[in-house]
């Protein structure tokens, strides 16, 4: 039976004839497809499972509601996708969300105009990125540790700025309509935040997927020294990735302030862990194990539908973390198991803990 499968290789043929017979491509194509189907299958399983358990789960109203709840997470995760694609990580993106929300809420509370509050909010978000970029590119601190420090510092800063963590509440009549529309408006009966998140995701997705900048970010994230040798200015590229990430985080923060009509310290940081999970679930979609905006959005959707479904079936809050963790672990574990023996470079995770573009020049005597 196997004879029919065997390529005819016993002729001492000129090399051109063996060209198509590169021995590993055929099975590898199938083997490499399997891990990429994990996340879609998980999503389908969640949809199917909860639709059986809860009659309202698949209703349009519920699903649109889920999208609205997921919009801010989607924004945060999209921003995070940029830095992970560039070979880094940003644990401080929650700080960017919080500082932006804090700044814009405080300015609105003080009676400033909407555009001032929005611009200053975005600026506060960007500021986090500036600090990150300075630490990582300037001082060569590994991204994981640099952004972890900024996370700690940022948490303290917002406590101090709010006088020990007191929430800011905006009274509705004082909020300018433009600012209110950002988080609570509707465009053709669609929740405005869904539209905002979709536009930002589309923009960043196109930026990463189709532009020269996106390509530069991708190869820098894969192998920094090889990118440098190819003539790319990897420091600038890395800086731009961190800035864009925190800018998107800042935008998420401004929307958060508008949607919740105020600011509660630490509320942005709650998105960090879900965002990281979503980004790495997304990486399993790619044949290069590469993170991407569409993959991230699928990860966000998996988390969003999972929590919504667990709520609908009346699972207590205490069980929901368990549910999320198990799903995340199952997806990543399957991804690792199914993509064994496939060609790959250094994994994304290992690179987070190493210095960017490090290169040894040690010498010994002969």
């Amino acid at each position: 039976m196997t004879i029919t499968q065997q390529p005819q290789k016993n002729l001492p043929a000129p090399r051109s004839e063996t060209r198509e017979l590169s021995p590993v491509t055929v099975p590898r194509r199938w083997r490499s497809l399997a891990p990429r189907l994990i996340a879609p299958v998980a999503l389908a399983a969640i949809l199917l499972g909860f639709s059986l358990l809860s009659p309202v789960f698949l209703s349009v109203g519920n699903l649109v509601g889920v999208l609205g709840q997921m919009a801010i997470l989607a924004l945060v995760a999209t921003g995070l996708t940029v830095v992970v694609r560039a070979g880094g990580i940003d644990l401080s993106i929650g700080v960017a969300v919080d500082l932006a929300a804090l700044a814009s809420a405080a300015l609105i509370a003080d009676g400033y105009r909407a555009w001032v509050a929005i611009v200053v909010g975005l600026f506060f978000g960007l500021l986090v990125g500036v600090v990150n970029a300075a630490l990582i590119v300037g001082l060569r601190i590994p991204p994981f540790l640099a952004t972890l420090s900024v996370w700690f510092i940022g948490s303290s800063v917002q406590q101090l700025l709010t006088g020990g963590g007191a929430p800011i509440y905006l009274s509705k009549p004082r909020v300018p309509i433009e600012f209110a529309l950002l988080g609570r408006g509707y465009l053709l009966d669609v929740d405005g935040v869904i539209v905002s998140a979709a536009l930002v995701a589309l923009f960043i997705g196109a930026l990463l997927g189709t532009t020269r900048w996106g390509r530069s970010v991708t190869v820098t994230g894969e192998q920094p020294t090889a990118a440098r040798i190819s003539g790319l200015r990897i420091n600038r590229i890395t800086v731009s990735a961190y800035l864009l990430c925190s800018l998107v985080g800042g935008f998420a923060g401004v929307i958060l302030a508008s949607r919740t009509n105020g600011f509660v310290p630490g509320s942005g940081q709650a998105y960090l862990m879900d965002a990281i999970g979503a980004v790495f679930i997304g990486a399993t979609l790619s044949r290069f194990s590469r993170v991407s905006v569409p993959g991230t959005l699928m990860g966000v959707l998996i988390f969003g539908l999972l929590s919504n479904g667990m709520n609908l079936v009346g699972l207590s809050f205490f069980w929901q973390g368990l549910g999320r963790g198990v799903v995340l672990l199952a997806i990543l574990l399957l991804g690792v198991l199914l993509s064994r023996n496939l060609p790959s470079g250094t994994g994304i995770l290992t690179r987070l803990f190493t210095r960017p573009a490090a290169r040894s020049t040690a010498r010994t005597t002969t």
Partner: protein, 521 residues
């Protein structure tokens, strides 16, 4: 049993292995006597590595048998192989970069001593062992990751020898090594041979096989292509013919040294220095010439390309076509190209497609308005260069990491053809590359140079230097020890100068005879 035990140490027969529907080995056999050094050659993809992986338990054969001392053995994992005394030195160096040299050396050998490890004593012993096996002084307190590729290779060789193997397999052991270290390695192998160790030696450097092996087994397309005994009348040409099924001409000998087209240097280096490695080198490369640089490990050639292109910190100035170069992005922007020696880490993007690898230096050419890359332009560019360099598979969407070493290197070269580079710095461009690909790479270099490109070729492959270089600089302890040009270059002379055996006095004495040897201190 006794009649075969000494004669045939290892015998593999009828080994067949397929991955999915693709058969990579069919009915391959191999015989190794104790005290024999057997060459194993074949082009990339011929099945050498798979055969070795079966012998060392990384893969399991679909059918076939392995006999050790005439007794059938079952090897299902690397630990089985090690327990049987089968040790391998892989081409990819499986070392732990965060361990110290001493720790790496004795890891898993059970020779660390008692519960407490005395660091100082361990390091002393490691240094002594390395010195004994390889003849090199390596500080055993350094981390493995701090060593050069060549030094890492020496560590791996030492480790294998310390484990007292019965069968030792070396996969491209000399690719990163300089000539003097190769000699030292051969000395070690001959000592192992004398105590009855069977050695399987895989190499693309056929000249080495000529020196070290008794017999050569040739694989082609997953089958035994033939056996060659170099002692009994067969030549290396026979080996090459068996490997590729046709004759290959690597170098067009008899060519005259090129006459550079202008006197304006394309690459001008002044006072290039790196602390403890390079002492202020001055040289220039004219358009249309190949300047080669060679030397032993420690002579500074490992760091030269990195220093010159600005990857590592350096003193001195580097000018490309009259413009001063501050960093590697500058270098590339001015038409420079750098093919680094560590291909898998610095040369090729393993997890990107071949097309993405090729276009990375030419992004501006394939970008339309708003910075958007045009896939059609990218594919066209990639396909043109894939065809030109005969990259296999000829498929721009293949993942670069799945290509063979030779084809990966062609992709790296294609990347620089895409950028229309005219000043090329090639650091060991054919290390670990099979004969066929190597000839194609040389042909490409020659074509570029004939078209006016300037090439700085850094290589420890002396055959390669003699075959392709117009002038050759020899580094010795961070200085230019000599400059040889054109016909004056012979492998013997290069080796003598590089290893310091040929002192300055002797060199200047020789300089009186052939006019084109001169000393350059």
């Amino acid at each position: 049993m006794t009649s075969v035990s000494n004669d045939r140490l290892l015998s593999m027969s009828g080994i067949t292995k397929s991955f999915g529907s693709a058969q990579v080995l069919s009915e391959v056999s191999l015989e190794l006597a104790s005290g024999q050094i057997l060459g194993l050659v074949g082009e990339n993809g011929a099945g050498k590595s798979t055969l070795i992986k079966i012998l060392t338990g990384l893969h399991t054969a679909d059918s076939g048998s392995i006999l050790l001392d005439g007794k059938p053995v079952v090897i299902t994992c690397p630990a089985d192989a090690e327990a049987l005394g089968i040790h391998v030195i892989h081409q990819e160096r499986y070392l732990a970069p965060q361990l110290s040299v001493a720790e790496q050396l004795y890891l898993g050998l059970g020779k660390l001593g008692g519960a407490w490890v005395r660091r100082g004593r361990l390091e002393e012993r490691a240094s002594a062992d390395i010195k004994r096996v390889t003849g090199q002084n390596i500080d055993a307190a350094l981390l493995v990751g701090q060593l050069t590729v060549a030094q890492q290779q020496l560590i791996q060789i030492t480790r294998a020898v310390l484990s007292e193997p019965r069968v030792l397999i070396l996969d491209e052991p000399t690719a990163p090594l300089a000539a003097g270290e190769v000699e030292q390695l051969f000395g070690t192998l001959r000592r192992l041979q004398e105590v009855g160790v069977g050695i399987i030696y895989i190499s693309h450097y056929l000249q080495e096989l000529n020196t070290i092996t008794d017999r050569i087994t040739v694989l082609r397309n997953g089958r035994n292509a033939g056996e060659v005994s170099l002692g009994s009348g067969d030549t290396l040409d026979d080996v090459v013919e068996l490997m590729v099924g046709r004759k290959v001409v690597e170098f067009d000998h008899g060519r005259t040294p090129r006459s550079p087209q202008t006197e304006d240097a394309a690459l001008k280096v002044t006072g290039l220095g790196v602390p403890r490695a390079l002492n202020g080198l001055d040289f220039q490369v004219l358009p249309g010439e190949v300047l080669a640089v060679t030397g032993l490990v420690g002579s500074g050639i490992e760091i030269l390309a990195d220093a010159l292109t600005g990857i590592t910190k350096r003193h001195g100035t580097v000018e490309v076509k009259g413009g001063r170069v501050r960093d590697v992005a500058d270098f590339v922007a001015r038409g420079g190209a750098y093919v680094p020696s560590n291909r898998r880490r610095d040369g090729i993007f393993l997890r990107n497609t071949v097309a993405e690898n090729i276009s990375v230096t030419a992004l501006s050419k394939i970008t339309r308005s708003l910075g958007v890359i045009a896939p059609a332009l990218e594919n066209k560019l990639a396909q043109r260069l894939i065809n030109k360099l005969d990259v296999r598979p000829a498929n721009g969407s293949a993942i670069a990491g799945s290509l063979s070493g030779g084809n990966q290197q062609k992709v790296v070269l294609a990347k620089w053809l895409a950028s229309d580079a005219s000043v090329l710095v090639l650091d060991q461009p054919t290390s670990g590359v099979d004969v066929g690909s190597r000839a194609q790479i040389y042909a490409q270099i020659n074509e570029l140079v004939d078209g006016g490109a300037a090439v700085l070729l850094i290589s420890v492959d002396l055959e390669e230097l003699v075959g392709i270089a117009d002038r050759t600089l020899v580094l010795y302890r961070g200085n230019i020890a000599a400059e040889l040009s054109g016909n004056a270059v012979t492998t013997e002379k290069l080796l003598a100068i590089a290893s310091g055996t040929n002192g300055a006095a002797e060199l200047s004495a020789k300089a009186t005879n052939p006019i084109n040897v001169r000393q350059d201190a």
